[in-house]
């Protein structure tokens, strides 16, 4: 988040229905000047619909959207400003580069629509094409471009008129893994350089965590949690968020003792494993004990502490600098990455030490 903290895009009680289904269920969020906010969620969680309503391509059924302090959508009051009058930029998942125009014509279009002078248009098109790395391709026909180049055209076209907010709808999902990573870094660099305010929609948690100032995790039309990436990952507010963002290993547990916020939880399938943790779940409640793989210390042989659980190796795959390993532990099958220093073979016994300070307990 940059200076000033002025709100550029403000969403309040935003509602969208498609027939009986509620796609977006009265959500609120703010997007600050210079900020990158990511809406993260599975497909169908309402994130793209939210973005399209922010763009003005979709009319909300309730709530209010403000852009730069001006109401652009408020269905209850009959206000709706269409996309072409919002001055937002949008990069589509499919890029939507116009095939009947050259790269330069694609990028110049928004400026022509705004009736800028020819020299001004030329200058700005050249400038932005250089910025996104399209300098050589300005007169190339848009059909003759690779996916990555089309991506850049779409980005240049969305940036050239310096929109108030740049909306990105899964912009990298059609690129191959390597290019995606490259584009991610370039977008990050671009954002830092231009200070663009971005609302980003993706289902890819790595993109979300690495690009955003804040992440909003969405599920079934509501926002489960908003926070900085570190918070989302380290302090998820619900089991859904923990499970969706990053990898999570889950055991069945039971609360066997309580004292204020702290509680003692025993694994149901491995009664000798007892964890001192914090939860508000009542005594005797069945719970989910969730732990990140990196918070598990794997050791050779049988367990030596109460916070460890015994595991048997089911299957192994050689992964170069490590082993990918499937183990059975406390009634669950767990995928782990093991160091090559451990003596591993199918059937061998391991001890998984769970860091009691890092585990999370969720209602079952």
């Amino acid at each position: 988040m940059s200076d000033g903290n002025s709100v550029l895009l403000s969403v309040r009680g935003l509602l969208k229905r498609y027939g009986e289904t509620v796609a977006v269920d009265r959500i609120d969020f703010d997007l600050f000047q210079g900020e990158v906010l990511t809406l993260l969620g599975h497909s169908g969680c309402g994130k793209s619909t939210t973005l399209r309503m922010a763009a003005g391509l979709e009319e909300p059924d309730g709530g209010e959207i403000q852009l730069r302090g001006k109401i652009v959508a408020a269905p209850e009051r009959g206000i709706f400003v269409p996309a072409e009058r919002r001055n937002v930029g949008l990069v589509f998942q499919s890029y939507a580069v116009w095939p009947h125009m050259t790269v330069g014509e694609n990028v110049a279009y928004p400026l022509q629509v705004r009736r800028l002078g020819r020299t001004e248009i030329e200058r700005r098109v050249k400038e932005i094409c250089d910025v996104v790395g399209l300098g050589q391709l300005v007169s190339r026909s848009a059909i003759a471009l690779s996916g990555g180049q089309q991506q850049r055209v779409a980005l240049a076209r969305a940036l050239v008129y310096e929109p108030d907010v740049l909306l990105l709808d899964e912009p990298f999902s059609n690129l191959d893994a390597k290019l995606r990573e490259e584009m991610r870094f370039q977008l990050h660099e671009l954002q830092v350089r231009l200070g663009t305010t971005i609302l980003y929609v993706t289902h890819d948690q790595i993109e979300a965590l690495s690009l955003s100032h804040r992440v909003a995790v969405m599920r079934d039309g509501i926002i489960e949690q908003v926070g900085v990436p570190l918070d989302i990952y380290e302090n998820p507010s619900s089991y859904f968020v923990q499970d969706f963002v990053g990898r999570t290993i889950v055991f069945d547990g039971e609360v066997i003792a309580r004292n204020g916020e702290s509680a003692t939880v025993r694994l149901v399938q491995a009664p000798s494993t007892i964890l001192e943790t914090t939860t508000s779940e009542p005594l005797s409640a069945r719970v989910k004990v969730a732990v990140r793989p990196e918070d598990i210390t794997v050791a050779d042989g049988h367990v030596a502490s109460v916070s460890a659980v015994e595991a048997t190796i089911l299957d192994l795959a050689y992964g170069g600098d490590h082993y990918d390993c499937m183990v059975a532990a406390a009634g669950a099958e767990v995928a782990l990455r093991l160091a090559k220093t451990l003596p591993v073979e199918p059937g061998a016994t391991l001890s998984l030490h769970l860091d009691p300070g890092k585990i999370k307990v969720w209602p079952s």
């Binding site: 269409p82 996309a83 949008l90 279009y109 008129y161 310096e162 929109p163 909306l167």
Partner: protein, 568 residues
């Protein structure tokens, strides 16, 4: 970036299309326009049939002519299944077997379809006429026969000309895309499962394409019920009348029997409407066979040297259905007495001299050009706009507008002509249009409305909606997006539709027949008038000119890269 001109919130533009009341207003305007144009002429006809008290009684109880006309119409229309099957097999062979010259062969079937029916029919009359038909004369000479073998003025003659000149070629054109778009992997899967080529054809290909075949059959039946030119030229002299020629006779009666014409038209209209609704239902429910593949995966069937035999057969077919009638037509314009090569001066330019000297001829050429190009130019933009409004905007009452736009599809040309004629004659405000070429352009534009709009809708549906949304987000309003993104992307289809409408305007007889006055006479009607007066040679001269115009348009269109054959 406020200086870039994002408007503050204020009253939204009419064309924004998002405001609820603006959607309603635009929807009503479109609906009213469509209703006036397509429903108007029909209602005039239905209403008119009740004005004349005796009309219904006459066609129900008294007129054996009306009954026999309906009977013959159905009889002739029943060629549709045969045409569809024949067309299907020819199309399948042309697409799936690497026959040498198949591109040319397919193009010639397009030409066969585009050629105006009157010149082709005249050509066949010169060959197969009972008395003067050249083939009949030759056969009688060679085999010393007493009687002619062929009689073109007969049920069989009408069948023959229709099958070769329109029904089969149109089926090849219609069914081609369905065969092309079939997903080849469906057949490959059959082969993998252990079926031979024939079994795959019988158990997979054919069942998959049955919907297309049936659709083609219903369509052929509907078009068959509306047919006019061939029946007029060949049937009328032999007292064989169908619906459209009977209506033509009734209108030309002294005094005109408009009431009966309208009553008979009402009957046919409702029959066609029912058929057309069945067609629409059926196509909507059975589109699965054509929605999948790209056609690239279609496997070709190698048949070795037999492909040359097949090629020869097709070239022979083309020769018989296109070149022979055309050659005889040209010959017919230049012989003193057709078929008599042993006269002192067998060849003459006399008929051409008379035709060119006819004060109607040059104006008729101009009228035809204005009619074809005018209807095409107006049609392209009207159809594109309507298709876009129906397909992509959210204006009110689109389904009703869609239905009205489709309605002329089941209105026979002669009926539309009767309706428009009545409308113009009895509406004081419209009377100035009587006898103007504008009225003919209007009629053709309306008649081609369903085809044009459906092709455009299809084309628009293939333009990714995001291409438009991108434009909107960039700040362009609806109209600007339509003009700068949608229309340019539709360019190939716009050209296709332009060509189709232009050719329809040049070819059409039945729609414009009753509307044309001496001042607005096009070549097609001039040709029919010559033929009706027995001046076959002069009609043939005009026929050559008309056919040449159509062929030139088709060839130019192909030169411009137009993919004739992929239009639907």
């Amino acid at each position: 970036m406020a200086e870039l001109g994002v408007a503050d919130i204020g009253p939204r533009g009419w064309l924004g299309g998002r405001h609820k009341s603006s959607r309603l207003v635009w929807g009503l305007i479109l609906l009213a326009a469509a209703a006036t144009v397509t429903l108007g002429p029909i209602l005039v006809v239905i209403d008119g049939s009740f004005d004349d008290e005796g009309a219904w009684r006459s066609i129900i109880y008294e007129s054996g002519h009306a009954h026999s006309a309906l009977g013959y119409s159905v009889l002739f229309a029943a060629r549709a299944p045969f045409a569809a099957l024949t067309g299907f097999f020819i199309a399948w062979l042309l697409i799936r077997v690497p026959i040498p010259g198949r591109g040319f062969i397919e193009f010639m079937f397009w030409i066969a379809f585009f050629l105006p029916l009157i010149p082709v029919t005249l050509g066949w009359m010169l060959i197969l006429d009972d008395h003067n038909g050249l083939l009949n004369i030759w056969l009688k000479d060679w085999f010393a026969l007493e009687q002619s073998i062929f009689e073109v003025n007969s049920i069989a003659g009408i069948f023959w000309v229709h099958m070769t000149a329109s029904s089969v070629p149109v089926m090849i054109i219609l069914l081609g895309p369905a065969i092309r778009q079939m997903d080849g992997t469906l057949e490959d899967a059959g082969r993998i499962c252990g079926s031979g080529a024939l079994q795959v054809f019988r158990r997979i290909t054919l069942p998959l394409l049955v919907p297309a075949l049936l659709t083609g059959t219903i369509l052929g039946f509907i078009r068959g019920l509306e047919a006019f030119e061939v029946e007029q030229l060949l049937g009328a002299p032999a007292q064989i009348y169908v619906y459209s020629t009977h209506v033509y006779a009734l209108v030309n009666w002294e005094p005109p029997r408009l009431g009966e014409a309208m009553a008979l038209s009402t009957v046919v209209l409702f029959a066609l409407l029912v058929l057309a609704l069945i067609y629409q239902r059926y196509t909507a429910a059975h589109s699965y066979a054509t929605i999948t593949g790209s056609g690239l995966s279609l496997r070709q069937f190698s048949i070795g040297r037999w492909r040359w035999v097949l090629s020869a057969v097709f070239f022979l077919v083309i020769a018989v259905i296109v070149f022979v009638p055309m050659a005889f037509l040209v010959l017919g314009t230049s012989m003193t007495l057709f078929g008599f090569f042993d006269l002192d001066e067998p060849f003459t330019w006399e008929y051409w001299r008379i035709v060119v000297g006819d004060t109607n001829f040059v104006p008729a050429i101009i009228n035809t050009l204005i009619l074809g190009l005018g209807a095409a130019a107006i049609g392209v933009f009207v159809y594109a706009g309507l298709a876009y409004a129906i397909q992509r905007t959210r204006v009110a009452m689109r389904p009703a507008t869609d239905f009205l736009v489709w309605l002329p599809w089941c209105v026979p040309g002669i009926l539309l002509g009767v309706g428009l004629l009545t409308l113009v004659l009895f509406t004081p405000l419209l009377t100035p249009f009587y006898g103007s070429i504008g009225l003919l352009i209007f009629a053709i534009t309306v008649a081609q409305l369903p085809l044009g709009v459906s092709i455009m809708k299809n084309s628009i549906s293939q333009i990714g909606i995001e291409l438009e949304h991108a434009s909107q987000v960039c700040g362009a309003a609806r109209l600007q997006t339509f003009r700068r993104i949608v229309l340019p992307l539709m360019k190939p289809i716009l050209i296709s539709v332009f060509v189709l409408v232009a050719i329809a305007g040049i070819r059409d007889v039945s729609t414009v027949l009753l509307l044309a006055q001496p001042s607005s006479l096009p070549l097609s009607v001039l040709m029919l008038e010559y033929a009706n007066n027995g001046d076959v040679e002069m009609a043939a001269c005009v026929g050559v000119v008309t056919a040449a115009m159509v062929v030139i348009v088709a060839i130019v269109a192909r030169r411009f890269g137009l993919q004739i054959g992929q239009a639907r």
